[in-house]
Every structure is written in structure tokens, then in C-alpha cells.
Symmetry: C2
Subunit: 210 residues, 2 copies
DNA sequence: TCCGCTGCTGAACGCATGTTCAGTAATATA
DNA sequence: TATATTACTGAACATGCGTTCAGCAGCGGA
């Protein structure tokens, strides 16, 4: 698995192969021996570097959270304007598409973190919820949105729509015939989402422009 | 675990305890010995009745799908009118709340089915997507909604909002302080959802009634 | 009454797992 | 060059897993 011209440390190789396999099948379904084989090392070396399989899992968690932070940092730093642009509402999916190479195992790993129920997942959702709340507040302050009578629910609702394509990627892809995390899929999803956010989906009073 | 006045067959007890434990921790994290202990029988009896652990998992899958079918049957049968009532849009969560006793392991098991990626999950999502599409079509035919330019995405979007409270129940509950599958939580969520479906959340033109 | 069948158990088997450990090669330190 | 430290391995270990199997109790039909 490890290419000949690979000069990363064995530690990094093990960590990356674990990330890939964990994202693919879930940590419980992957054995230390499989990770070691994928990294081209002995099982004992995995333990030597990470203490235990649980230690490796935590190291991968930390690594992915750091990547996620870097992603969000670029998003809320140099491109902060986008956060207050309704046309960039699909921020999470777009961030993933922009900052991660195609085929990256990170989205699938983030999905598992969110769904596994551990402390890392709670932390991740907390950050996302605060981000969503802040975004809504910003939109309201900019006069671009209304807070509604229950802003917390509204922020959670927005976040869920962002997360849906991550959590249900396969199912949505099968139903629509397009991977919702591809460029085309994101565009399709965002277009519809913006229309609904803009004016809802119930029947307009007759005479309204479409 | 099995109460003294319990006259269900051991087979049913095993199946129900497996359902509960599978929903709680996931099938891979539950051992045959734990299921047997919870049901008050020997591990060998589990195999005797279901052939293998995998057989038991499939039996539980089938059982839950049957419960789900019965739920939807009542929903689209005697109360079909509700499907075309926008006020009943939170149909999945409400159905769960209405037809399942509080604390039932079924919602958590459905969640696992949807997320596990097996054939049963694909089947389940397919049914839900068809239901959502049909509901949207019905609403449009009744003049209560507009199909949008991409009805498939719109139906998937509606479905995702229904599923969000199921998939992210714990996180949403922690963020909002209310279990979104409780009566109060559903009401809170549905209220906000209906407002957004009704008129969106972007800033209204000045002069519009709130 | 005997028979066969189903429900059920305790003990055991084979296997895969995470982890340990003694030991070797390589690299840095002195 | 000598030494200490690190990177790494192969073999082994204990444990817990799903599963098997011989046999026991109870019960309805011949």
C-alpha cells in the first residue's frame, strides 16, 4: 500500500491508513493486523507508536479534528464574507469539496464521528451548531434573514440540512442519481435549498412571480 | 431481565432483547452471550432458534421492518388525510411518537439500519423516499405546494428534515435542551419547519406581515 | 408405555483478536 | 569508536468470540 517514493514517517503512514480504513468500515470492524498490513509494517509497531488500538483511534480523531479546524479556519478567515452570503449556505459540503481532495476519507470519518456518540462527536456537533448559530445571527444582523421565533431550532434546522448530505450521502446519491458531495450534486441540492429558504415550498398566492 | 409473568415464547424474548441491545450499542458490539443473559437463556438456545448471530440480526431486521410497515400502514390507511395536510409534515417523527411506546428501541434501530449501509437500510430509505415523493406529489395535486424545478431533490430535502431528528437525536437534544422525539421537541421543531416551508427564512420585503 | 420431537443446557472447540516481550538493526549521542 | 536510544520485528500469550455437540427434561401421538 505504501508507495516506494514515500518518505513520510511510518507513524504518519499508519495513522493515515487507519483513517482510511476506519472511515471505510468503522473502527470496530478494522483489526490492528489489517492496519499494519495496509501500512506495510508489523502489528507490534502500531502498538509501539500509539500504545494501543484505542490510542490510535484517538490520534486519528485528533488528526481529523485538526484538519477540520484548518478547513474552518480558512473558511471563517480569508473568506469570511461567504458566511454572510446566502448563496454560500451549503458551506459545510462546499468546504469539504473545496478543501479536501476527491476521494478523501475525511468526510466519511467525520460522519462516523458525528454518529458514534463519543466525546469527539459531541464536540464536533457543538462546534458546528455554534457556527450555524453564528451564521444565522450574522445573516440577521446583515438584514438578510429573519431569526424566527425560535432561533436555536432554526440554526439546528440549517445545520441538519448541511449535515444531511454528509450523513445520508449514499442513500441520497442512489435516490437522485448524483453524488451529493460532487460538484454537480452540491449545486443541485443548494439550488433547491435556496429556493425553499427564499420563499418556502407551499403554494404561492395566485399572481405571484415564480 | 425477563419478568416472571412473561408468557411470550423464549424466541420472542430473545428477539426483543437483541433488538434492544442492537439498537443501544450496535450489533457488532453486542455478543451472543450478552443477548442470552438478557433473555435469561443459554447462548446455545439463541443459535438453536436463529441459526447464527447473523440469522438473529436478520430476524430482528425483518421484525423491525414489519413494525415499520404496520406503522406506515395505519398512517397511509385510516389517516391518509394527514399526509396531505401540511400541518402534519413531521410525519415520520410523529408516527414514531404516536405508534411506539416511549423508550422503544425501534427508533434507534431504524437509525442504525439507515446508517449501516446494508441492504435493509437501502430498502428502508427507498421506501421513505418514495413516500416523501408521493406526499409532495399529493400536496402539489391538492394545490397546497409547488413542485419546484427539481422535485426529486425537493422530496429528498423534505425527507432529510424528517430523518434529521432521528439521526441526530442526541446532538439536537443536547443543543436545544429538548429531546426532539418527545412531544414538546417535535412541536418545537415542526413549528419552525412549517414557517420555513411556508415562507422561507430570508428577510421579508419591508411591510410584509410577520 | 414407548417413541420421537422440540426446547433447552453446560462444556468444549477452534479461531481471531489486542497485546506483550525478547531481541535485532539502525541511528543518534558521547 | 563505544554507548544509549529509538524503530522495528516474529513469535507467543491470554482472552473472548461464534459455534458445536452430546445429552437431559417434558410432552403429545402411536
Amino acid at each position: 500500500m505504501r508507495s516506494a517514493a514515500d518518505d513520510r514517517t511510518a507513524r504518519a503512514v499508519i495513522r493515515d491508513e487507519a483513517l482510511r480504513l476506519f472511515a471505510e468500515r468503522g473502527p470496530d470492524a478494522v483489526t490492528v493486523r489489517q492496519i499494519a498490513a495496509a501500512a506495510g509494517v508489523s502489528p507490534a509497531l502500531v502498538v509501539h507508536h500509539f500504545g494501543s488500538k484505542e490510542g490510535l483511534r484517538q490520534a486519528v480523531d485528533q488528526h481529523v479534528l485538526a484538519l477540520f479546524d484548518a478547513m474552518l479556519g480558512e473558511l471563517t478567515g480569508g473568506r469570511a464574507r461567504d458566511l454572510y452570503d446566502p448563496a454560500a449556505s451549503g458551506s459545510l459540503a462546499e468546504a469539504i469539496l473545496t478543501y479536501l481532495p476527491p476521494g478523501s476519507p475525511v468526510p466519511a470519518y467525520l460522519r462516523r464521528m458525528l454518529l458514534a456518540g463519543g466525546g469527539a462527536g459531541r464536540e464536533l456537533f457543538g462546534r458546528l451548531f455554534r457556527l450555524s448559530s453564528g451564521m444565522l445571527t450574522g445573516l440577521v444582523a446583515a438584514g438578510l434573514a429573519v431569526p424566527g421565533q425560535d432561533p436555536a431550532v432554526r440554526a439546528a434546522f440549517l445545520l441538519c440540512n448541511d449535515l444531511a448530505v454528509l450523513l445520508l450521502r449514499e442513500h441520497i446519491g442512489a435516490a437522485l442519481g448524483t453524488d451529493p458531495l460532487s460538484g454537480e450534486g452540491i449545486a443541485r441540492w443548494a439550488r433547491e435549498m435556496l429556493v425553499i429558504y427564499g420563499s418556502g415550498l407551499l403554494a404561492s398566492p395566485p399572481g405571484d412571480p415564480p
